[in-house]
Symmetry: C5
Subunit: 292 residues, 5 copies
């Protein structure tokens, strides 16, 4: 993730990053321009359809449905943003729990129990690293697919294993009376968060928007834009070669932004900086459980 100054106006307008929708859509915009120009040429020079023709009014359908399409796309982008923000919240919860775990364990663990101290200092950030690996693996992506994917199935679910190990260690400390029963409970609460965050991130990753919805939306956009020039030609002539690509740019950008943010654990520019977050967790945990 790149931090930017949201108050600038010139830069974002001239912005031409590889994640920018304008760039991603560039080839399609060219196609739309050529296609529109072709339609215009065909209707105006070849068919010489008169202004009286019924073709001219075909745009009434576009204005009738334009609202539904805009609404759908804006909602679509918002749903995607909600997923992205929920993922960020989950990682925020992970940060909080790791910090709380760290300062609690620092106070609770006997001053001389070096090995437990080292263990938790390490295992907390190891959990976050394992979670990143898990969320970026193909296994997570295809976890709920109709088909089985035995070839990508890992040996064991790593985050689960680490959480299990951490709990086991805490339970042992409690059984041995090294930490009190109250301490045990307080630590347990935070450990639960680790597994809950993992489950929530898996959910966001492996459950995309229902396929028939996406398929409908893309069909709608394509038919809408493709049928736009035939009617528009009579109002704006060869300008369709500019106007139609612009309409397509707006509509498709919304869909593309939605696609790029709804799976926030990848390596795209808009994805969550989970590596950075994990690095910060490591740093703060080490600050909070000093080694002597």
């Amino acid at each position: 993730m790149e931090i930017y100054n949201p108050k600038e106006w010139i830069k974002p307008v001239l912005y031409w990053h590889k994640a920018d929708t304008m760039r991603k859509l560039f080839p399609y915009l060219i196609i739309a321009a050529v296609f529109s120009w072709g339609i215009a040429f065909f209707e105006l020079e070849y068919l010489k359809i008169s202004e009286k023709s019924w073709v001219k009014n075909i745009t009434v359908v576009h204005s009738l449905l334009g609202f539904a399409l805009s609404l759908l796309l804006v909602f679509r982008t918002n749903t995607a943003y909600d997923r992205w923000w929920e993922a960020r919240k989950q990682w925020g919860a992970l940060v909080n729990s790791c910090r709380i775990l760290a300062y609690k364990l620092n106070a609770m663990l006997p001053q001389d129990d070096k090995s437990s101290r080292v263990f938790f200092r390490k295992s907390i950030s190891m959990y976050t690293r394992a979670l990143i690996g898990h969320l970026r693996s193909d296994y997570t992506t295809y976890m709920l697919d109709d088909l089985d994917h035995p070839e990508i199935e890992p040996d064991k679910h790593r985050p689960n294993q680490i959480a299990g190990l951490m709990f086991k260690t805490i339970h042992k400390l409690y059984r041995e009376g090294k930490i009190s029963s109250e301490d045990y409970r307080l630590v347990d609460q935070e450990l639960n968060t680790l597994t809950n965050v993992c489950g929530a991130c898996e959910r966001i990753k492996n459950t995309p928007i229902p396929k028939s919805y996406i398929s409908f939306l893309k069909k709608f956009i394509v038919i809408y834009v493709a049928s736009l020039p035939s009617g528009f030609v009579f109002s704006i002539g060869y300008f369709v070669a500019v106007a139609v690509p612009f309409v397509f740019y707006v509509l498709a950008s919304l869909e593309i932004i939605a696609e790029s943010i709804e799976d926030p654990f990848g390596l795209d520019q808009d994805d969550l900086p989970i590596e950075k977050i994990s690095g910060n967790i490591k740093k703060h945990v080490e600050e909070l459980i000093p080694l002597q």
Copy 2:
């Protein structure tokens, strides 16, 4: 559920799966096309209504109400999606609780208490299987119906019985001092989730959107589309036979997608892959409570 690449554009547009709305609506689109053509023919060739006629302007009503209809349908789809997503979240909570239960029980249960280990290893995934059966049974569908359905009433509510049995076993272990009072509390929290998830899924399943709302929406769509050609004929002539089915396709698709996702426990393509989730739970629980 089929995992797809959300970044593709060609495939979804050409997509012709049996769950696709285009396919489901196909017969109705034909009817709409024929009907519109009929109206056009009747008005243009038979009645020969002049352009001056009042019929021509009947579309002002359509543009006045088009916005309300679009808004309603988009909200409708969103409400349905919210139910679908809530169901997914509930199953996510179930996954989390089962995992937490598993690694906690693994640490808590005495190493030599084989029978308890086997019991929980089995009963956790048995619960998820029983829940699937319960959610797909007619009993759940008609649980709140006005009429009684004694013929489909099961002997007992299975998920409740299993949850009750699990709690009883935990309680016994606690009474016998095999697990501490703290352990008892920590396990109990997760057991509650099982019943809460079951109740929430039953709610989503047995409480559809208020009937008068759905009935109103369908009446609105049908009247709206059926009255569309009579006015449109004067702007776009025989093109109504293409334009009106397209409008109907858009409006009805939204309704159909909503219908297909608002009950997410079935076997449709857009339904939640609860069998897969249940299978994953089984696998992970067995990983976390190894048998020796």
Copy 3:
């Protein structure tokens, strides 16, 4: 509540139930039709206003405000639906807590303590029955009214009394050492839910949408529809007698559906089947606390 098949299209369109908005609005639709026809006759035959008249363009105001009105009404319906769904969720929480209470008490109560078993078996479903009575009484409706209503004030708040009695019994069992302190805590959590659900349902029942909002909305609908025919006459002539009632049907239906679902504890067709839910609770509690 009547369970219906949401995938049907013919039935809902022909649906003519007494709760259907088409039926509720029928007399008003007739009035709107007659009124519109009257305006049309008056303007066309009597005043013979020419097409050039300013009256003709009065509809620009309608299209300017049509969007605001649609938006308001759709939001209105959604707010009402949110209340309805919140009420359903509260009753869902009640179901969950009653089930959890039942299987916990079954495990906790000494096998031979018949009287406690009978007590809780009865009191749980008695609570749900008392809650129904409470929510349907005039007392709840007028709880927060400006005026006092001593004539409908019940002797005591029944659900509170039953919850108090249940807690007292649990507390006594705990004091007497029949259940452990952990058991006491676990049961207490669920008992709290009963009172929380009761409070939330009272809130939904006794706090309608702010009056000035509703009053504004109804004024807006009536003025909007009443002024519609005078301008429309010039576009669609006598068709106003069909078009205006249809516009009114759409707008008023949204308001009527909102009204019918925002108080979900009544006996209307769209109201929540709280009697059924209460019956199910009774059945499941009895299954879970068998009398042996």
Copy 4:
């Protein structure tokens, strides 16, 4: 708050209460009417601007922006409603906690500890009264103002003091062994709610919508409405004197309703009946902690 029958249509339309927006806006509507008539007269009789003039088409801007304005205002009203409803929920939580506190304390307090019984019976409803006083004081309103307001600063924060005293008493009972440690925890949970509700209500009260947003919205409404007649005159002539005030009525009503409900603790008709709620709490607490 006045309880009304939401199913009535005649009354709300004729409703002319002092809180009604129609009445509040009356003087402004007159001004808008006179102003619009003045513009119409000026343009039609004095300037005699021809139909061809560019002024005529100035309304294209209005239709372009009308949608944004409607959307903004409807969202504005919904945000305000959300605050109002959140405040109601907070007071609902207060009701629940007070009832739960009451029946718990009744069971827990030793039968002969008259003084504690009397203390809690009184202090619970005293808290709610103190909260009302606090929420209606100028101190709360200006708590976060840029300027200091030493003149309205109370000696101490009363709700905090009462909550502190209640906790101290409970803690003393626990220390003295009059209530068990479990009892202490259960009561503590509910006491926390009191302070949480107080903080949430303060938040709603002392943090209005960002000022630049409100200032923008009002500028937008005023410029929009003030520039409406100059273009409208050419479509609807002297009817602007009716149409423009109506447009203003609709837009400003939304803003006024939002203003009136977003601070729900006052004495307006749409404000929450917190006195009534507080009275009900008192009655129910006294029912639940009987004095002998």
Copy 5:
């Protein structure tokens, strides 16, 4: 933050504060006016494009996309407001927890343990001050940036250190038996809130809206407004020099308000008064833990 009377209408309209969007946008409005006038002059006087030209109808694209743009911007503002309001809620939670901590510690700490009393009296408000410093530092802003910023990295995360110290002190009191295990748990709950609030505020601060979304939105606004005059000239002539800046004012204001409120921890006029809140916490904590 400046407290204002939301019921005033004259002041906000004439309002010309430095945070007002009208003022911020002033130079751009001048540019837009000059640019529009230039286009008008060029098309009308120089090119003398006839009314028949296709340029004239270019506005159909603007009305087609105007809705999508409005919708996007209103949603944008609402998302920003949600962040702002979430931040306010987090600080509200901080206020509540600090108050609860204060009155609990006052009751729990031994009357003669002066040093602990002084410690907590100080450390609670020290935490809030450290949080303000942290949230306003560049470190927090660039915490998740792609680049490392070692030059602004503080020695240690101060809020974490203070929270850790507070927990350590509580844990010591509990170990030494100065407070009971129940007391320990009750205090711990509130201490967790401190760290959770800190994490949530960091999240709001260091995770802006995805950059490609913002970049798209600004491109859309600029292209939309820049292409507006060329078509509008034919409807409203030189009035474009007023109308286009107004359209830009409305669209850009929404974006600017969103930018100004989505990072609520700064020193702008619309930012949250966290200094004031922190001051109030200090005052109330000192009231609740009196020093003798």
